[in-house]
């Protein structure tokens, strides 16, 4: 390491991320010149665990991989198992799956927008976004009995029916108007625009090379969306737009997430209106032998599960790939050359899930002396916003 460079370790507890990750930034003055990442602090061996569960039990195990996008993994998992022997799912179950999948997108995106707002020093955005996220969780509670970990999925169908269509339509209208309001407030704000434009740009060729997915890919001009490209559930029976932008910066990523909330509300409304009465479960007795792949467009991008079955009641192998596994490595191509005040926000912009733990420190490598604490790094970012506010508003 060059003498002029200072090592800034961030983590394992990142102030914005739910899961512990350890970032090491090498900085010269304010500028980041190199970066490394280390993950695995939260590795629970779910893939191995799944081999000891029956196909039905594993649905619940994978639901507990993530507390925010908790339905994404069961969604991809049941599709992988259904792919093994081509199990057909009843139409009504397909609609219910779509509704759950996109309700989750709304609450997950609102959560991110709120925390990003807090980090920028916009606590109003934080409070708004989380206030409007609350009714979405209420909808989940009305449908499944749970605000999180809904337990709705099973191989061959869903576990609960949706009955109160009129009530849900009303609730979705409210959610959509909140999202539209928040969208205008955030996108039109000159300070947020100045603070996020051209920060942490992921170029299109880098996005292709790193195989990024979801809003991160779509912000860099890649028009990929599993819901459109590999139609499943009821996504080919509803009309919605794939939001694609070219800039690749944090502003684009934020705008895409907010616009997607509105699209998700449209999807849910169409599903509720188009659903016809019918069975919700194919009553699968046996999975059979073979292998299957299941994909789902989670809020953060494509989730893919690979399941190998040997004819018994247990998966022989269950591979799980979450979207952040593709998105997190891309930070190395976005953070270098940026200032320290932006670094933590850039690593968080891929939305690898969030956390309330706050422990981040900048340390001089030789002495181990702490030169900046986590709170000070957050303050650094908030101060930059304040300076921009003064500059822009004169």
């Amino acid at each position: 390491m060059d003498k002029k460079e200072t090592l800034i370790p961030i983590g394992p507890y990142h102030p914005l991320l739910e899961e512990p990750e350890f970032f090491k930034f090498y900085v010269e003055g304010e500028k980041v010149v190199d970066a490394e990442v280390r993950i695995g602090y939260n590795h629970r061996g779910i893939e191995k665990l799944s081999e000891a569960k029956t196909f039905d039990q594993a649905t619940f195990t994978v639901e507990r991989i993530c507390g925010i996008c908790s339905t994404s993994h069961p969604f991809a998992y049941v599709r992988a198992v259904e792919d093994i022997s081509g199990i057909a799912v009843p139409e009504r179950a397909e609609y219910i799956r779509t509704i759950i999948g996109d309700l989750e997108r709304i609450h997950s995106h609102l959560l991110w927008v709120g925390l990003a707002g807090h980090f920028l020093g916009y606590n109003t955005v934080f409070m708004w976004a989380w206030k409007y996220r609350e009714p979405v969780l209420d909808i989940f509670e009305a449908i499944s009995g749970n605000r999180n970990h809904y337990g709705m999925f099973k191989v061959g169908g869903v576990r609960r029916d949706i009955n109160d269509i009129a009530g849900l339509l009303k609730a979705i209208d409210d959610v959509e108007s909140f999202c539209n309001m928040l969208l205008k407030a955030v996108i039109d704000d000159p300070v947020i625009k100045a603070r996020l434009k051209n920060v942490g740009v992921l170029k299109k060729e880098d996005a292709i090379a790193m195989g990024v997915v979801g809003p991160v890919a779509r912000a860099s001009g890649l028009a990929i969306d599993v819901r459109k490209d590999h139609p499943y559930a009821a996504y080919d029976r509803v009309k919605f737009e794939t939001i694609v932008m070219e800039g690749g910066d944090i502003f684009n990523k934020t705008a895409i997430r907010l616009l997607e909330c509105v699209e998700s509300a449209k999807i849910i409304r169409q599903c509720l209106k188009q659903m016809r009465p019918g069975p919700i479960d194919a009553a699968v007795r046996e999975v059979g032998a073979g292998e299957g792949i299941g994909q789902h467009e989670a809020p953060r991008g494509e989730v893919i599960h690979y399941v190998k079955a040997n004819g018994s009641n247990y998966p022989e192998r269950h591979k799980i790939r979450a979207p952040s596994f593709m998105n997190v490595p891309s930070f190395k191509r976005t953070v270098i050359g940026e200032s320290l005040a932006d670094a933590a926000l850039i690593t968080a912009a891929v939305d690898p899930c969030y956390c309330c733990t706050e422990r981040m420190a900048a340390v001089e490598p030789e002495t181990g002396r702490v030169i900046l604490t986590g709170q000070e790094l957050v303050r650094l970012s908030q101060e930059k916003t304040e300076q921009m506010k003064v500059k822009l508003r004169g």
Binding site: G45, E47, I293, Q295
Partner: protein, 152 residues
């Protein structure tokens, strides 16, 4: 020409093509052809590297590289085998950068050595994890040798 036809034209002699459904195609290749096929799928056919998965089998660790073709509603999985006991495979990372992390993961979990990988450092397991213990293997090589001895 469709993706499958192009693969057949270019790698017909080398890859065993199994069309499980219109949306799922599995290609089985010898390990020396993996890199060329992976590069062809990624660079020329525009496939998106989605992930790779390992399965511990009797003859070795079977590795599948999954490529998503988003314009064609298709997932192509390239299957190859790292034979015991060396468990050596050529790395796909120099041709397909997105494979870097998942090859590190397979290296840690199964002990597969990816020749030509830029950085096979520990990614997921703790720093004090014992050498030679691979959590996703079905059983250790020793116990398998004992089993074979008993069967004989």
């Amino acid at each position: 020409m469709s993706v499958i036809e192009q693969i057949k034209t270019r790698f017909g002699g080398k890859a065993a093509v199994q069309e499980r459904s219109p949306r799922r195609v599995y290609l089985t290749v010898q390990k020396q052809d993996v890199t060329a096929l992976g590069e062809f799928l990624f660079r020329e056919l525009g496939g998106r590297f989605s992930t790779a998965s390992g399965v511990d089998t009797r003859p070795g660790v079977e590795v599948l590289y999954h490529f998503a073709f988003d314009r064609d509603n298709l997932v192509v999985s390239v299957r190859t085998l790292a034979e015991k006991p060396e468990l050596e495979l050529p790395s796909l990372t120099p041709a397909v950068p997105a494979a870097e992390w998942v090859e590190r993961e397979i290296h840690e979990m199964f002990g597969v050595n990816f020749a030509g990988h830029p950085n096979l450092a520990t990614l997921l397991l703790p720093d004090d994890w014992p050498d030679g213990v691979y959590p996703l293997r079905k059983k250790t090589f020793e116990s398998e040798q004992e089993l074979t001895a008993r069967e004989n």
